[in-house]
Symmetry: C2
DNA sequence: TTTACTGCAAACCGTTTGCAGTTCC
DNA sequence: GGAACTGCAAACGGTTTGCAGTAAA
């Protein structure tokens, strides 16, 4: 556990947001100015591999790191690209029957709700 | 309507697959060898803007062009990145209640089933 | 002659990689 | 000394853009 890794972990901890690697770099550099983008990526990839955080692709194609590793879904604003968490209580019961699956084994289901956030409407 | 556009439209027409721009280029060049990648992108972007085809991001982050513009969902193999269409008959009834929406206006819901395709299991 | 479209090459953005230098045991 | 980690810079893959040349009306 190095200073760099601690800082990256701290940046993500407790955030409800979905930061890009650049944003993580920004915040990390406020605490440790000499930290580099490569280290940010190294560390983020390790955290993802350990299951500590999640990743997914934002609208623009870049990766977003999600401190909330628990299963949840996303609301995505098609106008400003903002991302909100959502955890449907009915637990998003999308199920495929055997016919629809055609031999595919489904491990997890990801739901993205596209639309407009309150500010962009 | 130029020869190039006709060829791009022909390449996509009737396919059930989800082609990358490069794959569209490959197939288009078999019919029109001098066609360029830039033209492929120009034409694909126009077709998307017209609603003739769909786009989404594949696992690797690149864009996939989907000749099937009708609403449907995807099965995504996390091993070989293959993509299959699926149209749940129960129409994938994931709905958020007003509380969960928090002022967000939902226009469309995208569901991705992650897992293993028959060949990769 | 104007307009739209093409193809090339360069730019671009986010991510990954190679490698030399550093730190810590 | 050896293992692990850092930071730089270069490479990379996919997409977009600027621009000069071409074709069509």
């Amino acid at each position: 556990m190095t200073a760099q890794r601690r800082v990256v972990a701290e940046v993500l901890d407790g955030e409800h947001v979905h930061l890009s690697a650049d944003e993580v770099l920004d915040r990390a550099q406020r605490r440790l100015p000499e930290i580099s983008l490569a280290t940010i990526y190294n560390t983020l990839n390790e955290l993802v591999a350990m299951g500590e955080i999640g990743v997914f692709r934002g609208l623009e194609g870049g990766l977003r790191y999600d401190p909330n590793a628990d299963r949840h879904h996303h609301l995505l604003c098609d106008t400003c690209a903002a991302i909100f968490d959502v955890t449907p209580k009915e637990s998003a019961g999308v199920e495929l029957d055997e016919l629809e699956r055609r031999g595919f084994r489904v491990d997890r289901t990801e739901v993205v709700f596209h639309g407009r956030c309150p500010r962009c409407q």
